[in-house]
């Protein structure tokens, strides 16, 4: 199936893939060829692209959506997408520490925007470290 990952800084991936595992809002979504049309929101997490003949590529994905058209074309649009080569592990570790402290010390309600933003920072740092650790 044809897969395209677009971000505001360019097309991150365009080509054939046999399988995609994307971080859906409620849980990971496995997309294979001939998946039925779906429009899914994504959370911050790891998205894995399986290209035939290659090692699966883990990518950091920060929100956005995944769309499978009737023709079976898959589009992922996300504000941020990084391969493990692009992750700065030290920066991510430092960010995780400060973000965790901020989150634990936060007195905001867990439904508030402020709390969600802090949670997002933690998730993003964690995902980056996970992707960097999963290098093929």
């Amino acid at each position: 199936m044809k897969v395209e990952i677009v971000t505001p800084v360019g097309v991150k991936f365009a080509g054939e893939a046999s399988q995609i595992v994307a971080p859906g809002l409620l849980g990971d979504l496995g997309i294979l060829a001939n998946h039925e049309p779906i429009l899914a929101g994504l959370r911050t997490g790891v998205c894995t692209v399986h290209v035939p003949g290659n090692e699966p590529q883990p990518l950091v994905v920060d929100g956005g959506y995944l769309h499978v058209t009737e023709a079976g074309q898959v589009t992922i649009a996300t504000e941020l997408c990084e391969a493990w080569q692009e992750v700065n592990v030290d920066a991510a570790r430092a960010a995780l520490e400060t973000a965790t402290i901020a989150l634990l010390g936060s007195k905001d309600a867990t439904t508030s925007q402020a709390w969600q933003a802090k949670k997002h920072d933690v998730d993003l740092a964690e995902t980056r470290i996970r992707v960097a650790g999963a290098r093929p």
């Binding site: 677009v6 800084v9 429009l39 899914a40 929101g41 929100g63 959506y65 769309h67 058209t69 649009a77």
Partner: protein, 293 residues
């Protein structure tokens, strides 16, 4: 008649001004190229997100999501994108004047109009007119990144959902070419589906059978803020490209003017020099004549 020394000083000054304007033009050209590259990179993403929004918004009830709901506009937020530096032709004054004109025209019809500004030039313009400015976003333009645009986007979206504003308008320059920048007003909230916005060749619209995971509202929750962010980011890039284009043109003509001026002063310098020599010669010959007598 000015002394030779004064003219020489003038020549040196015009020459160095010309050098500065030429350098500024080259810098602006390089920055313009970079901004344009980023606009090109953004295009596929902006197209996909825009199409998807247009399609979803058209198919759904405007009350389905707070960001789609059109409320009677009582409280308006104006986001004005200017630059930190001048010497860019009419770039800043065009967009400032557009925002100012809107403000004057709608003051009576709104309960409250708040201004939020990117760029020192916009702040200064409003300050000079004693117009209160709600917020000036600092350091956005030094290194423009998506995160900064998204930060503004999140803030605006939250304020809109909380009911602080009923509409959000964006004032900025759209980049057409290095000599043409078009001041533009764009409504970013509430999000309206525009007819004919969807380019079917790029993307097949989600059909009736499309599954929403986990639900349509949850997907809209993700997509609509994405759209606000991308519009602000694009507007910022357009604004930076316009600024650089305007500066390039302005500095190009400044360099040309410096060249013309230099030519004129050089002629004046030579004439002065010649006339001084002539005067000296006639003094010498008349002195010699006088001795002969």
């Amino acid at each position: 008649m000015p002394s030779l020394k004064a003219i020489r000083r003038r020549i040196a000054s015009v020459k160095s001004t010309g050098k500065i304007t030429r350098a500024m033009k080259l810098v602006a050209a390089a920055k313009l190229r970079r901004a344009q590259e980023r606009l090109v990179q953004l295009r596929p993403y902006a197209l996909r997100v825009g199409d998807m929004i247009a399609e979803l918004a058209r198919g759904s009830d405007p009350q389905a999501h707070a960001l789609l709901a059109v409320r009677p506009p009582k409280r308006t937020l104006l986001l004005v994108l200017t630059s930190d530096r001048g010497l860019a032709g009419a770039f800043n004054s065009n967009v400032n004047k557009a925002a100012w004109a809107w403000l004057q025209a709608h003051r009576g019809t709104r309960e409250h109009i708040e201004l939020r500004i990117v760029g020192k030039k916009g702040r200064d313009f409003m300050k000079a007119r004693k117009q209160e400015v709600g917020h000036v976003y600092p350091d956005v333009l030094q290194a423009l990144t998506l995160e900064k645009a998204s930060g503004i986007g999140r803030e605006v979206t939250t304020a809109y959902i909380d009911g602080a504003f009923d509409e959000v308008l964006l004032f900025y320059n759209v980049f057409r070419s290095a000599i043409a920048q078009v001041p533009t007003t764009q409504r970013i909230l509430p999000i309206m589906a525009q007819e004919g916005d969807v380019d079917d060749a790029v993307m097949a619209p989600p059909s009736a059978q499309t599954l929403f995971e986990p639900s349509k509202v949850a997907v809209l929750d993700v997509l609509l803020p994405m759209n606000v962010n991308v519009q602000i980011y694009r507007a910022l890039l357009e604004s930076v490209a316009s600024e650089m284009g305007a500066r390039m043109t302005a500095m190009d003509s400044a360099t040309k003017n410096a060249g013309d001026l230099l030519q004129r002063i050089t002629i004046k310098y030579n004439r002065t020099r010649q006339s001084i020599i002539t005067t000296e010669l006639s003094e010498i010959t008349s002195g010699a004549e006088a001795l002969k007598g």
